[in-house]
């Protein structure tokens, strides 16, 4: 894998939100074809890291470097990062009243392609991807996330990923809020997306997602740092034993 260059790379990244440092120097490289998972206790900085990488105005990277396909993203605005190939499925997707799912995605696709998608091609693509994720066709004309249930929002995030087909996707707790059947459908969607050209970073609390979407690398984040990395077996151990054994044995103070 080292003959390829990483899709996402960040070195010693520190993130500040509301004047508080919540990510305290993390580094990672994700190569094409790789799936990584970040696990860790509530409040350890997983979402802050994801948001900062995506370019959220509240989360500033105060130190360190980050690259998409070798290109530094620190000076890029969020929309430029998206067009450069980064995608973030949000832990708490916002509602956009008055903007339908179909129109929203059409605008997103237009900004990625630099031109309006042909209407019938687009309709076909949307219909196909919605069917693949078992999303009822009526959602196309509903306002984005407006009144959607928690699980419906997560499915729509994955629909957006499938349509935009980014090189590098960060999925922040896409599994939480999903019922058992939905978890399976959504995981299948993620697996359809993933191939040897794509990178995937999953933030999750549960092994159950990792039963479907298999990571090669698992990282544990606690108090703003990666305190342990390992293979898929690490996730299984966490499921059984919790975080205490790592957090207590590491040098990181909470």
């Amino acid at each position: 894998m080292s003959d390829k260059s990483p899709l996402l790379e960040f070195n010693d990244v520190h993130v500040e939100v509301e004047g508080k440092e919540v990510v305290k120097g993390v580094s990672l490289k994700i190569y094409p074809g790789e799936t990584h998972a970040i696990m860790g206790p509530n409040g350890s900085g997983k979402s802050s890291l994801s948001n900062a990488l995506m370019g959220h105005p509240l989360y500033t990277i105060t130190k360190g470097e980050a690259f998409i396909k070798g290109e530094s993203i620190l000076k890029m605005k969020a929309d430029e990062r998206s067009r450069a190939g980064l995608f973030l499925a949000f832990q708490y997707p916002l509602a956009v009243p008055g903007v339908s799912v179909a129109n929203f995605l059409r605008a997103a696709l237009k900004s990625h392609r630099g031109e309006e998608a042909d209407m019938s091609d687009y309709r076909g693509l949307l219909k196909k991807e919605m069917a693949a994720l078992s999303i009822d066709p009526s959602f196309a004309t509903r306002y984005l996330n407006d009144g959607f249930s928690g699980g419906e929002k997560k499915r729509i995030e994955i629909l957006q990923m499938s349509i935009l087909n980014p090189a590098m996707a960060l999925l922040d707790e896409t599994d939480s809020g999903l019922d058992i059947d939905a978890l399976k459908t959504v995981s299948e969607g993620i697996n359809r997306y993933q191939d040897e050209t794509k990178g995937l970073l999953l933030v999750t609390h549960y092994q159950r997602l990792l039963n479907y979407v298999k990571p090669q690398h698992v990282h544990v984040m606690a108090a703003g740092k990666f305190v342990k990395s390992g293979g898929p077996e690490l996730a299984l151990k966490l499921e059984d034993e919790g975080y205490d054994w790592i957090v207590n044995n590491s040098a990181v103070g909470a």
Partner: protein, 437 residues
């Protein structure tokens, strides 16, 4: 035209001498109502934000004036739409001087009348006497009296019982250019179990302040009989140097329903009042307004829902988008009489301020005289939330497109209620106002 704060309506004004004796007497009485009343004091709530002197005239009558080009454009498309049957009728009202009615080749349902008020005062005198000045007259206010005296000609629509007009009727009221004054007037009577959709469009006026401003003072009276269904859309798209004053009043009998959509875009200074009295059990009124202000436009809108009968319900959602240094004041009054039990009344005013320097005021007023009601009101005021913009950015959409989409979303729920015939033009109005973002 420079306004004269001491302006009085001259006895010799030609409008005062139009129509049958009864009408002349009404006009004279309205003239006295205007001349004998003082300018409303600024301290009174409804005049806190707007100077009443701005609606006074310098001269007695509208000077003959050209009409703007947009009038012709709208007229030619709408004439086509009538021919194709997309509209039931298209009526043009040029400064109250010339009322022209074009009816769809399919014709109108039996007994439906669309004509000028002057024709109606001859052919339908009893209906005119029973309805004209019933809801808007010298007692309503000084400027209502002004229209009551000075309207020249207006539009009359009567739908007898049990008639459904499926396609909209479009009224285009064109005010003259600089230094002109228009006094549009409309009376609509919707019979029992009948249905009508009206698009009442106001355009024209002075395009440029340096040549002089223009003035308009309009009045609309609508009567909904038992079980009638009325949709009334008012579109105000006056030219930039127009001062306009407008009063709308409707009265609903048992089980009548009404949807009122005020769409407010134009002019320099615009004060409007939309009011519906729910006077019969089971009556229901909804008002969904949309205002978009840019530049230094000044808007002052009132809504009034007066529940005078029990088991009535009303709902208002008045949306405002402001850009540059535009100002909007909104006063929403809900009045529920003591005898009007078991009513529901809701009111909401949402203001989206696109930049600093805009100003929105919202004043809810409740006069609820019994306990057996369910009522709520709310107002929001704010800029577009950064989180929402970020969400769109994260999908590759740049900031200005994101803002346009979010504002488009904000106004969407109102636009989707507008008749198809108007939808496209409205989206354009909104889009042009968002272009500069």
């Amino acid at each position: 035209m420079k306004q004269n704060p001491e302006y009085l309506i001259n006895e010799m004004s030609p409008q005062l001498h139009r129509g049958p004796d009864w009408l002349k007497a009404m006009r004279r009485s309205n003239r006295l109502g205007f001349n004998e009343s003082k300018l409303p004091p600024r301290g009174i709530h409804l005049w806190r934000y707007t100077d009443p002197r701005k609606f006074m005239l310098a001269v007695d009558q509208a000077r003959d004036s050209d009409f703007a080009g947009e009038c012709d454009t709208v007229a030619s498309t709408e004439t086509e739409h009538v021919k194709k049957g997309r509209l039931a009728a298209f009526v043009t009202d040029l400064g109250g001087r010339d009322i022209n009615v074009l009816v769809s080749p399919k014709g109108l349902p039996n007994g439906v009348t669309i004509c000028s008020l002057s024709d109606a005062s001859e052919k339908h005198f009893d209906l005119i006497r029973e309805h004209l000045y019933q809801l808007i007259n010298r007692k309503t206010g000084k400027f209502e009296a002004m229209n009551g005296a000075l309207w020249n000609d207006g539009i009359f629509i009567h739908v007898p019982d049990n008639q459904i007009i499926e396609k909209p009727i479009h009224l285009l009221r064109e005010a003259g250019r600089e230094n002109s004054a228009a006094f549009p007037r409309l009376v609509v009577i919707v019979g029992r179990n009948s249905e009508i959709t009206l698009i009442d469009e106001y355009g024209g006026g002075s395009p440029d302040r340096s040549n002089g401003i223009s003035f308009s003072n309009g009045a609309v009276e609508i009567f909904g009989a038992e079980d009638s269904r009325t949709r009334y859309v008012s579109l105000q798209r006056y030219a930039p140097a127009m001062n306009s004053y407008f009063t709308h009043r409707a009265k609903l009998k048992q089980n009548a329903s009404m949807l009122t959509i005020p769409l407010v875009f134009g002019g320099e200074l615009c004060k409007q009042s939309f009011g519906v009295e729910l006077a019969g059990e089971g009556a229901s009124s909804k008002m969904y307004g949309l205002l978009f202000g840019t530049g230094r436009q000044h808007f002052d809108n009132h809504t009034l829902h007066h529940h005078s009968a029990g088991k009535t319900n009303s709902d208002i959602d008045f949306k405002v988008v402001l850009k540059d240094r535009a100002l909007s004041a909104y006063t929403g009054l809900i009045r529920i009489d003591n005898k009007a039990r078991t009513c529901e009344a809701y009111q909401e005013n949402r203001n989206l301020l696109l930049n600093k320097g805009t100003r929105a005021e919202t004043i809810p007023e409740l006069e609820i005289l019994n306990e057996d009601v369910s009522c709520s009101h709310g107002a929001t005021l704010g800029s577009i939330d950064e989180e929402s913009i970020f969400y769109l950015n994260a999908r590759g959409i740049d900031k200005s497109t994101a803002v346009r989409m979010i504002v488009g979303g904000f106004v969407q729920s109102t636009l989707k209620l507008v008749p198809d015939d108007l939808k496209e033009r409205l989206s354009e109005f909104v889009a042009t106002r968002l272009e500069a973002i």
